[in-house]
Symmetry: C2
Subunit: 246 residues, 2 copies
């Protein structure tokens, strides 16, 4: 029994980009998690017909690509539309009417930076994860049968509740297909089980810092959308510099 279990791939959780280097990135599929709101926006834009999404690190790079190519440029810094860009990081903005057939160049505070870290460390594969496509993420990870790192984007490297909750949701669904020896994975799953009946209420009750920040901007609808399971359920793969439907 034990030796059977040892043949399974590993499942680990990095609660902050500052911890990613502790894990075996180059032998793992890395799931980039930035629930509020980068990875939820990415999923939604692709679900609503975007051709692809180019994630970039800086606002300057975003503006530069916008001048060179026929794309929509968007991004935020500290939760607000970045100066010099027209569109932000709200998933609700990326309706089929707006985004269908178009390419989006996106820069965000935490999620796109983490993606480039995973890339630089030689990840075996990179996908993005959000509650919006929870089932697609889980189905893919089980089918791949490779080591997995659930990588939370956090907030300026500080661990956050919502990314940890999503990691926990994935763990609760796929754990039997993996071997685990990772306390962060256990903590994330415990947290998720406590929250799962009302994710929004949990974020509110425990004064999640990002909940408070976005509520302060009047973005309750965004939060509720980003905490809804499978409302844009497709797989998002990173390939040759672009996020595409997998």
């Amino acid at each position: 029994m034990k030796s059977e279990k040892n043949k399974l791939p590993t499942l680990t959780t990095s609660l902050s980009p500052s911890l990613l280097h502790l894990y075996d990135v180059n032998s793992s599929i890395v799931v980039i998690i930035d629930i509020l709101r980068a990875t939820s926006t990415i999923t939604t834009a692709l679900y609503n017909g975007a051709k692809s999404i180019i994630p970039v690190d800086s606002v300057a790079e975003c503006i530069k690509l916008g001048k060179q190519m026929d794309v929509i440029t968007a991004g935020e810094r500290d939760g607000k539309i970045a100066e010099g860009l027209k569109y932000g990081n709200t998933p609700l903005q990326y309706t089929p009417e707006f985004i269908k057939g178009k390419t989006l160049v996106l820069t965000t505070t935490n999620g796109t930076r983490l993606l480039h870290m995973a890339l630089a460390e030689g990840a075996l594969g990179i996908i993005t994860g959000s509650f919006c496509n929870l089932s697609a993420v889980c189905d893919y990870l089980i089918a791949q049968n490779k080591n997995v790192i659930l990588a939370c984007a956090a907030w300026k490297d500080r661990v956050n509740i919502e990314d940890t909750l999503f990691a926990g949701a994935v763990i609760s669904r796929i754990k039997n297909n993996f071997q685990q020896n990772c306390d962060s994975t256990q903590i994330a799953e415990i947290l998720y089980h406590q929250a799962k009946n009302d994710l929004f209420g949990f974020m509110k009750d425990y004064k999640a810092s990002h909940y408070q920040r976005l509520m302060g901007y009047g973005l309750e609808e965004d939060i509720r959308f980003c905490l809804t399971i499978d409302n844009a359920n497709l797989l998002v793969l990173y390939e040759a510099g672009r996020l595409i439907v997998g």
Copy 2:
């Protein structure tokens, strides 16, 4: 009400030494937390009459001081007595008969390293925390009325369950005296409330990595001791290179 609340000092939690730099170390009292087993051993040795404890980073430094001074040298690497040292990191070893009136030079994998990090970053004050002296820690932090960072030593920078649980125990007792805007603090408290009725059972049920490691060495009694509240209840202060009774 809000402005009153804003006058309170802040309470934050660093779940790993890799995250400590994110917090305002130089305006805070830092609580070093290494439940299995450094800070539990430190508390117990002082409670049983050790004159002081000199925490050092390396085994070599430990051996060197042992040759220069009349001290007991002890330390572990990866949970076992380090080569060249005679004593280890089990709190049960430091009985009054053995340790009374003596000075202990101690080096451990995670806890002593974190202490020196906090020192290097200019902490306002440093104390050590363990379940063994939970009440003394909480009373002190409330009385000081200064910003607090609960700093988990983790395991080679990977977040662990037992240090997070202790942070949660402190938070549950002192939170009304502090302002909070830290998701790690919330997560730690949620975890603690889930575990508090049976800390040992919780560690076992959730396969805490350090629980498994120490059980593999036959150290169940150590684990049980380190999870017992207030069995060596005194304050441990770091002052001028030494840990002493506060």
